[in-house]
Amino acid sequence: MLRALRFVTGAAVGLAVWWYATPAYDRFLCAALRVAGMRAEAFGRMVRATRVDAPFAQLPADQLTYNMILFAGLIAAATPRRVWRAIAALLALVATHVLALAVTIQNAYVNHSGKWGDTHYSDFAHDFWEAAEYIYRIGGMFAIAFVCWYLAATWAAAPGRRRESSRKSERDGRGRRRAPGSRR
């Protein structure tokens, strides 16, 4: 019950962050795309792809990033033991947002730019980019949020390390029990 409450609180915070931070976040995503050589500009909750040799495309970029609400809820409900795991999971989620925006822009060029897309791309490219965006939007984005959280929340020590530490704890006096007065 407490976990459910924590999930709702985390998701509510995630919703507020997603709602209000989207314009700034979209600008960040566009900047990341520019590093990769793609041209895109954010305006409000939309992104405009501005390739020189193609008609420009407008995309509702906020619809690609709302899996952060589920992620925030899950992190709040079952917080990873180490903060860096949560940060690593968040960075992985952000990386998938950059990738999702790149895929969506590419799909806009291939499938939603009329004759230009038909003349520049093959039938396979049409199907591939359509399927990639569809799979991400229809459920893939939530699967990604789940996987990022799951890896962070259930990350176990490497088997060798664990064996070594268990041997050490056995030497020190079985498990968590420490000799009275022993130093850490």
Partner: protein
């Protein structure tokens, strides 16, 4: 690494399930009839609270609002999420079957509530519809799917647990 194995199988199964939705015959003969049944059930509930509700294929139409139920709003994708996760988890086959059936029932009941509530939001607070449709209800449905899977996987004993 059993966790990584679980995640790989889960993602492969989910990808395969979602790809099948892209095939026209699957869409025509499975998804659309199923979505029509959701529209009929939702329309039946809505007739008790709104007047002039008519169902036409996958559309629910009333004087105040109309919705067309597509993939993403029929609960199929969240059902696939649960089924993929349950099948990927190393439980016994009877446990997996029970998990998949119970998860599917949970998601479809929640989805019925989603469709009805979204229709009413469209009728009475249209400006809220877009945010409720995408961010809020999609998150709730997938949160239910994840929550169900976590609870189910805690109660299901992994098949290799006895040898451990």
């Amino acid at each position: 690494m059993p966790r990584v194995r679980f995640l790989v199988i889960f993602l492969v199964l989910l990808g395969v399930f979602e790809l099948t939705l892209l095939f026209d015959p699957v869409d025509r003969s499975v998804v659309r009839p199923f979505t029509h049944e959701i529209a009929v059930a939702s329309g039946g509930i809505l007739r008790n609270v709104a007047s002039g509700v008519v169902v036409n294929g996958t559309m629910i139409v009333a004087p105040c609002f109309a919705v067309d139920i597509h993939n993403g709003c029929n609960g199929v994708e969240a059902t696939m999420f649960i089924v993929a996760a349950v099948l990927a988890f190393p439980a016994t086959w009877p446990q997996r079957a029970i998990g998949a059936l119970a998860g599917t029932a949970l998601i479809q009941i929640a989805n019925l509530i989603r469709v009805v509530s979204l229709f009413l939001i469209g009728c009475y607070r249209r400006s809220w519809f877009e945010a409720a449709h995408l961010a809020v209800w999609q998150t709730i449905i997938f949160a239910l799917a994840v929550g169900f899977f976590i609870m189910w996987s805690r109660r299901s004993v992994p098949v290799n647990a006895s040898s451990a």
